[in-house]
Amino acid sequence: MERVMMKGNEALAEGAIRAGCRFFFGYPITPQNEIPEYMARRLPEVGGVFLQAESEVSAINMVYGAGGAGARVLTSSSGPGISLKLEGISYIAGAQVPCVIVNVARGGPGLGGLTPSQADYFQATKGGGHGDYRLLVYAPGNAQEMVDLMGLAFDKAEEYRNPVMILTDAIMGQMMEPVVLPPLRTVTAEQPWATTGKQGRKKPNLINSLGIVGEELERINIELQAKYDRMAAAEARYEADGTAEADLIVVAYGTSSRVARSAIARLRQEGKKVGLFRPVTLWPFPQAVLASLAADGKRFLVVEMSAGQLVEDVILAVNDRAKVSFFGKLNGTVPTVREVYDRIRSLLPEGGEG
């Protein structure tokens, strides 16, 4: 298999093309600009449409329209831009329209900075927009997963008729790594529910998130929750490395998981038993596996580039069965391997003073 070097952002973009995405609507923001730049060049080559909208709000509503017509459609942004898109995302979730949204996160709140951050975890996994909705959220751990999870994101978006988010950060987006690209897939835009004209049918397809009459809204929400239950049961993904024999398990995703992996490699050379648990889906959160590791008497250290967001899901999963420690770097800073190494050592049974 031929390996090529790609930036994470480019890997996401080419991954989308390979998965049959033919529409991109977006608005520029650092550190995700390589995605629209790549799509602007690449989409016309495969007969697709790239459009730079006049704002994030317009872009997400174009996504709503293209997704509603059954097309595979992508938008990407970074924290502040995702905040602007949230109204649209809530509508898309309510109307059950498939699409893929990328957040290459940077430090916030507000305009924040350009440096990497994982402080958009709540925004991605706990709603962000209004109403009881859920996004399927993938967190790639390397450039190959940028490609592979993008392909999966489009399939799952269609399968569940639900928006899917890929949450990554500035380091993962800017970093180059070897990837093996899958073949170009041909997908049909013909969905039985899509609004592409009646085409002989008696009843028109309707896409709407309004439920104002009688108990219509309750019915919509019951249907949505049943779907989220199916997703929660079937879609949780994770990587567990050396967790069974570990004395301590580091829980981290994205860039933090990579720094943790380097620190863990050093500790293992010293004979320490440290595992890595990396959620690949942030929603649904791989709760059951963590719960059973906690029941086995493991202790946990959560490492993230935020004031503590993922850690809340870990505490919920562990549910008092194990001790959960936290090491966070605030917006804009990345933990060093040495910092994570030191923190893990201080928590190990015989560690700390040596």
Binding site: L114, N142, Q174, M175, S262, V337
Partner: protein
């Protein structure tokens, strides 16, 4: 084995390029590699740098804090990163722009090359970066010269391919400096 490198210099000296060549060359040898650029708001005349990791295992952190190797093409870069190089590590610096080198790192191999003058002698003052890279490869042996030569075709855009022979001469020039 995991080998971590920082390439640093003024914007325009080609430090991002030599970093990419190291990563691409490593990949062509079947290794796991990452390349990560410094990015964001920079001052005119400021420094640019990139982190490269070459390993026989999947790479953890792509951000290098304690490099095994440093290529510093200007003074500010040497000052900024010299102290973080691991004991036993290698530093290649551009002696054309750096007159004084602190003597507080005896446990590190320091090698100065007059990259600018040597590049001018080759007929193109822009290939100083490649001479430095050649010298670094000769000292560190982290990636083979042939792999870097092959990587040039992949990393340089088509319209620059006529410069590949010049770049290869520059690589060999640098390599010869440390081998000789």
């Amino acid at each position: 084995m995991t080998y971590e490198i920082i390439c640093a210099g003024f914007g325009g000296q080609g430090v991002m390029l030599i970093g990419q060549l190291l990563a691409y060359g490593g990949m062509l040898e079947g290794k796991e590699v990452t390349w990560f650029p410094s990015y964001g708001p920079e001052m005119r005349g400021g420094t640019a740098n990139c982190s490269v990791v070459v390993s026989d295992q999947p790479v953890g952190s792509p951000v290098v804090a304690e490099p095994d190797g440093l290529i510093a093409l200007n003074g500010p870069s040497l000052m900024r990163f010299m102290g973080s190089v691991k004991p036993g590590g290698v530093i290649v610096y551009n002696a054309s722009l750096i007159n004084e080198v602190p003597e507080d790192r005896p446990e590190v191999r320091l090698f100065g090359i007059a990259a600018n003058e040597l590049a001018e002698k080759l007929g193109n003052d822009k290939v100083g970066n490649m001479i430095a890279l050649g010298a670094f490869l000769g000292l560190s042996k982290v990636v083979g010269l042939a792999s870097i030569e092959a990587a040039l075709k992949e990393v340089l855009p088509e319209r620059r391919h006529h410069l590949i022979p010049l770049n290869i001469s520059a690589l060999h020039k640098g390599w010869a400096l440390v081998e000789g």
